[in-house]
Every structure is written in C-alpha cells, then in structure tokens.
C-alpha cells in the first residue's frame, strides 16, 4: 500500500540547508498498525507529513497504492487526501467555531460530490468514537479527549485507506490517551491501516509494528511482540480509581 524508497527531505531557509530525512525506506501493507518513534527533532513529523501527502519529499520515491505521488499535481494530492487519507493531530486541529458535527462533515465539503446522507455518516462516525451525545458541542465546550475523538471521527468519516496520527495522545492525560488508543486499536481490528507517531513507549507498545527513526534514518523496524490492549489498561485504571 505504502512504498517509500530513499525518501529525503531537506529544508531550505535562505542559504541554510537543514537535511531532516536522509533516505527512508519503508513498506506499509494494508491493515498494519505502525508506530514511528524517535527522539525529538529526528524527523518523525516530517515523515508523517510526506506520508500524508501534506508535503513533498526532496528526493526518493513514494508509491501510494502503486501510484508515484511525486508525479501528481497539488489538486490531485488534495483529492487523494480527501479520498484515501485521514489525519489526527496532536493539537486536534478542529475548527473552533464549528460544532462537532460540522467538523466531522468538513471532509465532505471538499469531496467530489456531497453525499445525500452526509449527516447520517457523520453521526455514525461520531457514534463510533462514543460521542453521539456531543453532536452540537463546539470544541471549546468539550474535553481534550473528546476533541481528539471528534478529530478521529473526522478522519474516519470518508472511509479512508490509511489514518495518520501525529502524537494523538501528546496533549492528553493517561486515561484519555488510553481511550484514544483503544479506539484506534478497534479501528485496526476492523482492518484499517494506521500510522502513528509517538514519544510514548507505552503507546508504541500498543501498536503492532515499531519503527525507530534517529536523525532522519530508520534505525530499527520490528513487530511488537505482545501488544498491550488499551481497553484492558483502561479497565484496570478505572478499577484503581474506585
């Protein structure tokens, strides 16, 4: 599904060159749940942006579903983002003035055609993340965990092939983090492909495959032996709280 070969990225700011990615090879198959970890500044976000077609690499080849994306126009990339990809960001990135429902409807606005049952689909996506009771709340009226769940619903609503998440638990407490990861684990169990960036080793251990990046290079890439089940942790946490 995702095939990276020798991906490099160098930022140019005036005469200053900042090489960030120094040749990344990566193959992600359908249905995988991949975590990318590494020290701060190692280029994880940069890599995720390239994977998510938000940015273009300086060199190398990226094939998504067999299509070489470097040959695509900006508009075609936008269409692919809308069609095949979903994003979850650390800072949620919801539109603050729009309700949860409107936020989730946003991708449809930019889809080729606006489906007649868009509202229904958006409600279902919000139901999937357990927010059927928050349809008309605005981000300011919801907790961080709820906001991130709205963001997941938004990433989910267009039925994407891959969901990218950049530190989705970075702004959340332990319990909300577990809720978010358990939702992602559920989506993975349904067969979705998920690529997630995290600092948190505990979160990394809840994925199925762990890629370590240091200074723009992949230093290790191995399956997670015995992934933690977030739901169980959540239960333990709730019991401990009683």
């Amino acid at each position: 599904m995702i095939q990276l070969k020798g991906i490099t990225k160098t930022y140019y700011r005036g005469k200053v060159e900042t090489p960030v990615l120094l040749g990344i090879d990566l193959h992600v198959r359908e249905g995988e749940f991949l975590a990318i970890m590494g020290p701060s500044g190692s280029g994880k976000s940069t890599l995720l942006h390239i994977l998510g077609l938000l940015d273009r690499p300086t060199g190398g080849s990226y094939r998504l579903d067999g299509i070489e994306v470097s040959s695509l126009s900006d508009d075609e990339l936008a269409r692919l983002r809308n069609d095949k990809l979903g994003f979850v960001f650390q800072a949620f990135h919801l539109l603050p003035k729009s309700t949860a429902l409107d936020n989730v409807l946003l991708p449809f606005t930019y889809a080729g055609h606006f489906p007649a049952d868009a509202q229904e689909q958006a409600r279902r996506a919000l139901g999937r993340v357990g927010l059927e009771h928050r349809l008309h709340h605005r981000p300011g009226e919801m907790s961080g965990g709820e906001c991130q769940r709205v963001a997941i619903a938004r990433a989910l609503v267009n039925d994407p092939e891959v969901i990218f998440a950049d530190e989705p638990t970075g702004n959340l407490d332990q319990r909300s983090s577990l809720e978010i990861i358990s939702i992602l684990q559920g989506l993975h169990a349904e067969g979705r492909t998920i690529v997630l960036v995290t600092h948190d080793t505990a979160v990394g251990c809840m994925c199925r495959r762990l890629l370590r990046v240091v200074y723009g290079k992949v230093v290790s890439d191995e399956p997670v032996a015995d992934p933690t089940v977030a739901l169980q942790q959540l239960q333990t946490l709730k019991e401990a709280a009683k």
Partner: protein, 404 residues
C-alpha cells in the same frame, strides 16, 4: 443540505467568528456606498426638478427662446450683455410662416420701488399680454397687461407677491399708486405666487406693459428676449434657421460676424441643464469612487491580517482535502459577502439620508432603481477585487506550515 448551502454556511460562520473584522471592513464601504446613493438620488432629483421647471416656464417642445447678445449656451456670457433685439425684430419673426406667437419682454435693471412710506428693490420687466399664458403664470387679483395698455404705454403695474408684501404688507394693493424709480404707476393686478427656484425668488418682480418699459423706464427701445411658438414641434429646426437669417439681416451682420443674439431651443436647454447636473454627479461619483477604493484597500488589509490569523483553519481545510482553489473561492466568497452586506447597509443608509435631505433641507431627491443596482454592483466589485490578494495569500499557504 447541498454543497452550495454548506459553502454559504461556512462563509457565514467564519464571518460571524470574525465579526469585529467584518464590521471594520464594512464601515468604509457603508460610507462610500451611502454617499454614492445620496449623490445619485440628488442628481436624479435635480434632473426631475429641471424638467419640472422647464414645463413651468412654458418651455414646450414647440417653442424656443431668443435672447439678446451673442455667445454660446452654457458659456458664461458678459455680465453686461448687449441688448440687441428690437420690437421690429419681434414683428418680422411673428410674420414668418409657421410662427404662431411671439412673446417679447424687456428686463429693466433692478429698480427702487416705493408706495406710501415703503421701499423695495425689485426686478422690473416689460411684458405683452401673451406673457402670462406663455409661462403658465396666472393673475391672482385684478388683471394682466392688455393691448390697450401697450397702445397707450400705460403706467400700470402687475406685482409679484413678494413686492406686494414689501410695499403693502397685508393691505389691499389694487388701484394703489406706486413709484418705479420716479415714475408713478397704478397697481392693476397681482400675480399668483410661484415660490423660489433655487436661489431666486420668482415672486420678486413687477410687470409693466412692454411699451411702457421701453419708452418710460429705459433709454432704449430694445428688448431682452422673446419666446417664439410654432405650429408644430417638428418645424423648430427650420424656423430657427429662418429666424437667424431674418435677425442677421435686420442687424446688418456681414458674413463672418458672429450672431448678436442666441436662440435657445428646449432640446439644447434640457441637454445643458442635465449635462451640468450630470457633470456634478460625475464629479461626486468620482469622489465616492475614491472613497470606495480606499475602503477596498482597507478591506484587503484587514483580510490579509485575518488570513494570517486563520492560517491554522486553512491548514486544517487543506489537510482534509481542500484544494488551493477551494480556499481561494472561500475567501473570495467571504469578501464578496462582506462587501455586498456593506453595500446593502450603505444603500439603505443613503436612502435614509437622502430622505432626510429632502425632508429637512428641501433638496429634491428621487429614487432610481439603476442606482440600486450600481450600489450593489460596485460593492460586490470592490469585494471581489480587493478579496483577490487575501484569497491568493490564503490559497498559497503551505498546509504543513499553516498547521504548525
């Protein structure tokens, strides 16, 4: 819920979110469009007043006016215009084929007039019996100048209401003696009141028989002008040419010598008057166009600021699949909506102000639907034009940097 509806809703939501900006953006436009509307309404009103005035002057399409002294219509002629027309000219013209009436008059310089102990200074004009009918001016009391008065160069006077008020107050002026300069006259009639036309009080005048004016009140027997009525309007051009020949011959003007009289046809007068009001309107329109341009620049700058503040929102939209042009259209749509809203507000403010102008200052104004469309079109144009730069800036944002 269709896509168009969603886009509109999006625009409304963001405008509401940025309502203080939106209000700032609209102020300049409201003022610009309001003044444009007022100007247009006044221009329209002036035009209507001109045609009403011409009708009241009896300036039908089947008549023209000959004025003493040369020059061109609309060009300011010498203050002391030569008085060149004579009663003989009037006679010759009245004998032309197709001419039905010639109504000459003579303007005497403003003169001191007295009655009893009261004095006033007023316009004195020599007229013939046809004068009142030609100007749709009725006699309120007594009678008008008659042929007999003309034959006898009688010292009789018909007064405008302002003169009556100045000389007699509430008392009955009929049959009373007045002095025009040093010459004694008897009041035989009072004209109905016409009110003022702009700066000039039309009731501030005295009419005497034409022959009295030429023989007793001034040193020459020339006349100031005459109104010529024809059998039908289609002959105006032809008769104007004939009159020109007759007058040039009577005044012995050789070839190359310019006319010492001016024939003013209703067409030309109307054109001149509307041209004057139109150039006034054009000038004021230019002024408000400048203010609209300025408000456009203000709109542009505020939107540029708003776009940087909204970089994050734009990044989100791009991340979920908005193309550059989707962002471009969104921002354009917003500036268009703000501008159109400002335009509509300005329009209503302008209508209100011109209503007040009519009501409080008695300035004639008239509503015109074209003005309505102009205001809307103009503000929408400003919105589109000055929305382009912010929209391009927004569309050009890199989504990754916008989200940082």
């Amino acid at each position: 819920m269709s896509l168009a509806w969603r886009l509109l809703k999006t625009a409304v939501i963001s405008l509401w979110a940025f309502r203080s900006y939106a209000a700032l953006m609209m102020i300049g436009l409201i003022i610009g469009i309001a003044s444009l509307t007022v100007i247009h309404q006044i221009g329209q009103g002036a035009q209507q007043a001109v045609s009403a005035r011409m009708t009241s002057m009896g300036f039908g399409a089947d008549a023209f006016y000959i004025s003493s002294g040369g020059g061109r219509l609309g060009v300011r002629r010498g203050m002391k215009r030569a008085v060149t027309l004579t009663p003989a000219d009037a006679d010759a013209i009245s004998r032309l084929d197709g001419v039905t009436h010639v109504v000459p008059h003579k303007n005497v310089a403003r003169t001191q007039v007295s009655a009893g102990g009261n004095n006033t200074n007023t316009r004195v004009r020599g007229a013939t019996p046809g004068w009142a009918a030609a100007r749709n001016w009725a006699v309120l009391m007594g009678r008008f100048v008659t042929r007999t008065d003309i034959g006898q160069s009688a010292r009789v006077a018909v007064l405008g209401t302002t003169v009556v008020r100045e000389l007699f107050g509430e008392a009955d002026p009929m049959g009373k003696r007045i002095r025009i300069g040093r010459t004694p006259f008897i009041v035989i009639g009072v004209l109905e009141s016409k009110g003022s036309s702009g700066w000039r009080d039309r009731d501030d005048l005295i009419l005497v028989p034409l022959s009295t004016a030429t023989k007793r009140l001034s040193r020459d027997d020339k006349i100031s002008g005459m109104r010529v009525t024809m059998t039908d309007a289609s002959r105006v051009g032809e008769i104007k040419a004939e009159v020109t020949n007759v007058l040039r011959e009577n005044h012995s003007l050789g070839p190359g010598v310019p006319d010492d009289f001016l024939i003013i046809t209703p067409d030309e007068l109307m054109k001149l008057l509307t041209r004057q009001s139109r150039s006034l309107v054009a000038m004021l329109t230019f002024v408000s166009a400048v203010s609209l341009f300025v408000s456009g620049v203000v709109i542009m700058n505020i939107m540029l600021v708003a776009v940087s503040e909204r970089a994050y929102e734009i990044g989100v939209r791009r991340a979920v699949g908005a193309r550059r042009r989707d962002i471009l259209y969104q921002i354009l749509m917003e500036s268009l909506m703000v501008a159109a809203a400002g335009g509509v507000c300005g329009l209503f403010l302008g209508l209100l102000l011109s209503y007040l102008a009519t009501w409080l200052l008695a300035i004639p104004t008239a509503f015109s639907p074209t003005g309505f469309l102009w205001a809307l079109g103009f503000s929408a144009g400003v919105g589109l034009l000055f929305g382009v730069a912010p929209a391009k800036k927004a569309a050009g944002l890199n989504p990754v940097e916008a989200l940082r």
